[in-house]
Symmetry: D2
């Protein structure tokens, strides 16, 4: 029997997780929810998803009817069937949903990176905390930036991380967001250093406590985040060893400027050419030329496709929470294969 997954909040993350669940052999989507009858809602039904109104409210239900988009009811009509809910609601709403809907209805739930570490039982990254989240009920898949950092730090962990310094250059808005700026500015966000991204990594990897310092700015681009890492490790290390570790680590790929990858725009062009749906690139991209060492310090630059990097993590998180597969690498492999990831 397939695990029954309900997607609550069919937005940027929700719609991708829905498609990723559908691509797996061991799970299925029993429904997706929307708050408004827009083109995404329509497409959901065309893809065969059963559509529910995310908010049990008459006016909202009527809006779907008026728009000619058939819904099956509200979330309350389907929640009992679910083995697990993947929450894709906006920042902070996930926590509300957890308290008001998931807990009272005794259904397991995955929250996303917009929620706080302290509001869940544990924090998920497939490489670092799969075992820890095994069988748990309320887990958060960490944010896109944190997921990217967790992956690369996993690749570097055997060198003995003493201090990781990271500057994050964040995209200002997702590509489908036509309201948020800035149009022409660089914004420290937060203006305090270190930023919260370090502690967020620590929520997944407690052993990095006091060992990761992050700082972040927001810039006027929509495609990807970019990170620069400067990581001091226990002893001297060679560039080739790092490249080897990166090659061994799932869901990280190397891109080369000399092959045309001169920017995040070119990486996205590559993903488009690959034929990925929505040009998704859940693989973390490290610029090969940027990988370097000086004594016991490692340098590199990476790019994170914010819209999709957490999608395979949500799939693995489902398997862990529902105890469907106890070997994290097997889950990762199943997920990657179903999603046709490069590795």
């Amino acid at each position: 029997m397939k695990a029954k997954v309900l997607i609550n909040g069919y937005g940027s993350i929700g719609k991708r997780v829905a498609d990723a669940v559908s691509a797996q052999k061991d799970m299925e989507v029993i429904g997706v929810t929307k708050t408004k009858p827009d083109f995404d809602a329509k497409l959901a039904t065309e893809l065969g998803y059963k559509l529910y109104c995310a908010i049990p409210d008459k006016e909202r239900v009527k809006a779907f009817e008026e728009a000619g988009i058939p819904i099956e009811g509200t979330i309350l009509d389907v929640i009992e069937e679910a083995d697990i809910v993947v929450d894709g609601a906006p920042k902070k709403v996930g926590k509300e949903n957890l308290e008001k809907i998931y807990k009272p209805n005794k259904v397991k739930a995955i929250l996303q990176g917009g929620e706080k570490a302290k509001d869940v039982e544990d924090n998920f990254n497939a490489l670092w905390s799969y075992e820890r989240c095994y069988g748990k009920s309320y887990v958060r898949v960490v944010s896109c930036n944190t997921t990217g950092l967790c992956r690369i730090l996993y690749a570097l962990k055997d060198f003995g991380i003493k201090k990781a310094r990271v500057v994050l250059v964040r995209r200002g808005a997702d590509p489908n967001d036509d309201k948020t700026g800035p149009i022409n500015a660089i914004k420290p966000n937060p203006v305090t250093v270190p930023s919260h991204h370090g502690p967020d990594v620590v929520s997944v990897v407690p052993e990095l406590k006091d060992k990761i310092i992050t700082s972040a700015v927001i810039v006027p681009t929509t495609l990807m985040h970019q990170h620069t890492l400067m990581v001091e490790v226990e002893s001297e290390v060679k560039r080739e060893d790092i490249l080897e570790k990166i090659n061994e680590t799932p869901r990280i790929i190397l891109v080369r400027e000399k092959e045309g990858f001169s920017s995040t725009a070119k990486i996205i062009e590559f993903a488009r050419d690959l034929g990925r749906k929505r040009y998704d690139l859940p693989e973390l991209c490290v610029w090969e030329e940027s990988v370097n060492t000086l004594g016991n310090e490692i340098f590199l630059m990476q790019a994170v496709h914010q819209e999709s990097i957490v999608v395979p993590e949500n799939i693995d998180c489902i398997r862990a929470m529902l105890e469907m597969e106890d070997d994290k690498f097997k889950s990762i492999e199943k997920t990657n294969k179903a999603l046709n990831l490069i590795k």
Copy 2:
């Protein structure tokens, strides 16, 4: 026997036409050319395209070898096999290729919108000049903006176009172009009014001579062009009649702001959600709410996906030039079906 198509210049347009040719039953790609061994070259070979060096030059051939990307030779090694070449070289280079390669090698050729009307035998739009280009040897598929205008004017033609006034708001660069600006400016381009876009439409539709006035600016966006049309017609016309005509015309779709299509960004999100390769949207998009009339004047706004709108036109152009199908609507239907267009 399938028509043998050579793609000379596997760039933004070339790679899309290659995939579109491959999707048809009556034609096949016998080779694609690149000038440099970048990731696009690599992906071409992975897709099974035979790769040739676009420029018969030893140094360039060597560069492919050194990059470990196998090529079959240069364009001169394959040109004789071709029934037709689709030129996808940069602006102005197409004309050079025509004179130096296609004509001497007596192969039919399609040039793109970056070339001039006067350098070819005729100018192609599937709706307007399919019959005229039938059997011809050197034809230009007009630019993305001109193609968008030709389509909508076809939908409006039965109302008797007296004067079409159009302002084009053009994307500054394609999404994969990380060099071209502007970052923060609006540029009249050209600064003279009327712009050359009107005469370019006339190269396809001579009967519109002196009846179309265009003006254009460039703005800092990469996704789509946007056009505002104000079209005086012979007599009073009703909004519903225009919507009906648009609905009847192939390759034009209506989008509604009230369903979430508030900008070009949302239209592209829709194309991504549709699962289109590279989020291509060859269909011209007209905002339904913008369609309006006052007396005998029609108003509307439309968006043009510059990277893909000419792709199905290239396919129909091949059929016309090689006399493979004498009914334009049948060709359009074949193309649309193979490319899975909405209509």
Copy 3:
């Protein structure tokens, strides 16, 4: 005695009007208001303006004290002294202020373009409605886009305007706004055609009723708006005649692409080089090369510096409402001279 002007809302427009009032011989700023103690508030006091809290609220007053920025009280402590208030509050708040503060306190008031025509006695543009607003109590200085249109239509009026068609390409946000987007999209705004800009012009120039059709989009730039005009007039007209009329009209200047004015960015560079405070350019800029005629239709492109174009209009409006000068051209001349405008 100088006219006593209170600036309520020392934001983008308010701070410029304050400086412009101070530059005149016949009026003075008796106070400016802010809602928050930010760097603009601090600079206001450093410039010698008496600062008041815009909202009579204890918490807000305390915030100024805590920030170490001395204020003189709240708006209610100064309003009685004022001969006129220039409202610079955000869109829609101006109307509230009118009803709740200005009318009850029986003080004349100028509202800005974010308010509605119907909420005031009349609508002001120095060239068109100076006389009409003479002595009135509640007048709106129309928006930046409308002001730009009014000026150019004044220059063209003697040719007998039959139908003006205009497409407005609007800046997405002001340069100091780091929150508003879009980052990468073109947004029809409004999506309906014609847009409200035509009726807004008519609120100033009733004789243009049914003679002006506008349409607008928003793009990711901060510097200026751009307009393309296509204007049918009574009879055939020569390019030179239009250039002459433009040259005769106050507050319009011609810029030439061949002298380097290839975009709004270059126009702003010019204003910076002129040494204008805040690079303000209240003069409407028409691209000389764009001015053209075909039969009895006129074409041209212009750029509007949204932050400053209405500033001299506010000054003239004060003179009209307070009956300080009954010849509009004399007021315009005084204002221009004090502000060092080109013409």
Copy 4:
């Protein structure tokens, strides 16, 4: 007698240095050069600068005449009068000018940051290498980014810099550049880490050899560069001590997010409100909230106005090279006072 300064290349840097020289009591501009008769050339003559053609070429001279912009001759007609030339030519052209014009004509010359350290006698920053450049003939004022780094490292130097790690987020193009992108991408530039900015700092401050590691990306903004610094020092250090040092260091100011400085856009708004010509802000801006310490590591974020930060440095460099003032702090004070800098 005032020092006679020739500005060769009246572009972004050249025009600012010209104005800054004119503002000093002990030096004067004897001429400025341009290659083309654009609006900047015209404004130069309106400001009273004697204009020369930068390239001794008949065609170019004629172009000025045809445009109606009077020139005094070519650079060769004025070079002998000059005590020193400030070169403001584009990247790499400065070196050519040095070899072909300045050295043969035995005139001292200042090159800008686009040139290489090895092509000059020494590299200038007022705080670090004033004495070293005293009396020298061919000196480079380092780039905007390097100048910003030199200043902040001077403020931190007494804490004993062990290792400075810096990530630079660079503006993609200057505001008046309407050709250069990217429009929507983050570009590692260079893609290798460390970048050349560290060695460039070392060209000014040799004692920092092996102690500064930099990495840089380019983003779609025009206003300012942004830097994040993480600096390990000899021993534990307190935040207040850093703020104090910053306060003591000339040409660095603190800005506070809580006062509204949430981004580079707000900093530029502040400079506009100050009434600075061209909104120039040669002062390095450090976000006060970002200044922090953890043990013996210092963190901070700063913003660099690329167009103007090197301007006062050029003035001091003139004084040093012409041996006009032997105390760097006195020169800095004179310059700052004449330019009305905050400090």
